[in-house]
Point group: C2
Chain length 231, copies 2
DNA sequence: GTCTATAACGAGATAGAC
DNA sequence: GTCTATCTCGTTATAGAC
């Protein structure tokens, strides 16, 4: 009976994966706002009520897709950092940024799901937070390690922002100077500005060699958080 | 008869505006993907086919909303520049950036329409280009004026990007050094990364004092394009 | 000529009875 | 799970009011 249970569990996992795959295909065609459980069921030859065995509501299916997207992006970014030389924080930074860009260009609809316009009527539950935080935490880790080992270049901080920057540093990385914490959050948002503009077509007819442009921009972002090239 | 024509023309303008207003209200509730001509007509007490006298198709209505949004944002940004001191390019830059942020926070759904995820099945026609370019051209103008009068600080440029940067400068502002042109385009995208993260909720539970944070970030963006404070 | 209303099409969603 | 009756949608053809 353990084999029977195992088979059942395996079947459940497979069907769940098939549902998510079909939903992702629908995401590409119709967008998240029009994601329809019925259409997903139709594509799978199932009846819509059967889907509710796997996802209690459309929003739960959306949540699963969002978490998967964040995790897929996060895994790609983490792998890129792991493959970059340990001693060079700028190389690590640019490797992570480039992995984000490559993933986004390969999965534009999932990118739109997590970094595009919010889906009307949908509010992301707290369960998405850990997956959503992965790329940010990775960037923090790079800067923190560089701070510990080779140090950061000095950064400016206006008086107006001091208390917010101190709160930020306390939350994100207590060992980091507040200047670096504030610069890090800004660079994080700016990175996704660059990626979003490319994925959503704002660079059409503006930039030709987008890869070179991006590499240059994220290198400057690395400098803006205080990173300097390793040996 | 000129009065009769004027009355007709005025009525047409008024009805057109009412349709767009209702459509904007629908945009906020349902999102662009679900914008429905019939719902707009219903809200106005019209019949759906009557709308076709004003907009030949749903996509044309969307296009009109997009152009209006770009123009509203562009006008706000241009007014902010005009109100900032002529002699201080950094103040002008931050004034424009802050106007973009304020407009986006006041019109989140229209912001999503123009800088969020693309609407599935909709391709923006070339007629949106002039309106879409207004903010970018404004930022270019600030940097170009600063270059002419007070000069820019020196900027780096990798060999890899040189040809792209030269093409960019030739397209956008032939009098600007290629370094500044490349930095400008990057800062432009990064600005909308900052704004998008705030409007779309990515800063929730991360940044408290978003206004101070934003001001600090765009001041650093101004430096990244070579601007220095005036007298 | 300019506009609105009626009716219809084909496609798809939805709710409920069975 | 299935079937059906009733919604929605974008769009068009047509007829008539101003």
């Amino acid at each position: 009976m353990s084999t029977a249970q195992g088979a059942r569990a395996r079947a459940r996992i497979e069907v769940t994966a098939a549902i998510k795959d079909a939903a992702r295909r629908q995401l590409a065609q119709e967008g998240a706002a029009r994601l329809s459980l019925r259409a997903v069921a139709r594509e799978l030859g199932m009846v819509s009520s059967a889907l509710y065995r796997y996802f209690p509501s459309r929003d739960d299916l959306l949540t699963a897709l969002i978490i998967d997207a964040y995790d897929s992006l996060g895994a790609a970014a983490e792998a890129a950092r792991a493959a970059a030389p340990d001693a060079d924080p700028v190389r690590q930074w640019t490797a992570v940024c480039e992995a984000v860009r490559v993933w986004a260009l390969a999965h534009p609809h999932e990118y739109a799901l997590i970094y595009g316009s919010p889906v009307p009527g949908y509010a992301a539950p707290q369960t998405t937070v850990p997956a959503a935080a992965r790329v940010g935490l990775l960037l923090i880790g790079i800067v923190r390690d560089a701070h510990r080992t080779s140090g950061l270049t000095e950064l400016p901080l206006t008086a107006e922002l001091r208390s917010e920057a101190e709160r930020l540093a306390a939350d994100l990385a207590p060992d980091l100077p507040p200047e670096a914490a504030a610069a890090l959050v800004a660079a994080w948002a700016e990175l996704f500005g660059l990626v979003g503009f490319e994925v959503f077509g704002q660079f059409n007819r503006v930039i030709e060699d987008r890869e070179a442009f991006f590499r240059h921009a994220v290198t400057r972002l690395a400098a803006s958080v205080g990173l300097t090239a390793g040996p």
